[in-house]
Symmetry: C2
Subunit: 104 residues, 2 copies
DNA sequence: ACAGTATTTGGCTATTTTGCCAAATAGGCA
DNA sequence: TGCCTATTTGGCAAAATAGCCAAATACTGT
């Protein structure tokens, strides 16, 4: 693996790492339907608002969502809907795992 | 978010976490072409063989790859090729980010 | 300017992840 | 059996991540 390839995989991993936390996956899933502000997402998730804000910052930093301040609130939007296809694949893996469990 | 939903996102995150390390993404990408044994992958990656072995164990535990012992070696295979579609999406995000950088 | 709401940031601790080394395990072959 | 190669496991220290609280910031409306 040369230096260029190494950097490529580090970049891919950086993006995917942003998507490897339950709360952040939930956020992405929700934002796929419509935009939400921090407070709304916080109420759905049920942890501290500062925690949710940090999750949102991670997703934003990865370029997966964007924010827009309107009035008193900051609204977040999903930038790459293709991220949803990843849910399909992950669900696939989980289903396969279950099947294999049953075969034992 | 009720208990069932919470568990669902935890499961999704668990799988995706297995895919959020550069070496593990590299491994998946390589195994998409053909099977490889631990030693071969170790030579490509360039870290300690025990480290690579642990990466493989994580991927196997997530149900993404499977192993088969033949003779002296353990060969690993990609189980869910759909994982490759995730690369496409991640690359997409990276490209979008670059474009946005250029717009500044 | 002041009070109230929404959000972010800093700081701290607890937990998890990473990666190396050394040791244990397993199979092949003389 | 004994040696060699391939792989996994245990243990450890460094680094990264998570989540809470408190404080800072930003904007609204009075």
């Amino acid at each position: 693996m040369d230096e260029l390839e190494r950097r490529k995989y580090e970049e891919l991993a950086r993006i995917n790492k942003a998507l490897s936390h339950p709360a952040r996956l939930f956020i992405v899933h929700k934002l796929a339907e419509q935009e939400y502000c921090v407070k709304e997402l916080t109420e759905m998730i049920g942890s501290d608002i500062s925690t949710v804000s940090k999750h949102l910052a991670i997703l934003k930093n990865a370029g997966i969502i964007s924010d827009e301040k309107r009035g008193n609130c900051v609204y977040y939007t999903l930038l790459c809907p293709c991220v949803l296809s990843m849910f399909g694949c992950l669900t696939n893996v989980i289903e396969s795992n279950k099947e294999q469990m049953n075969e034992l």
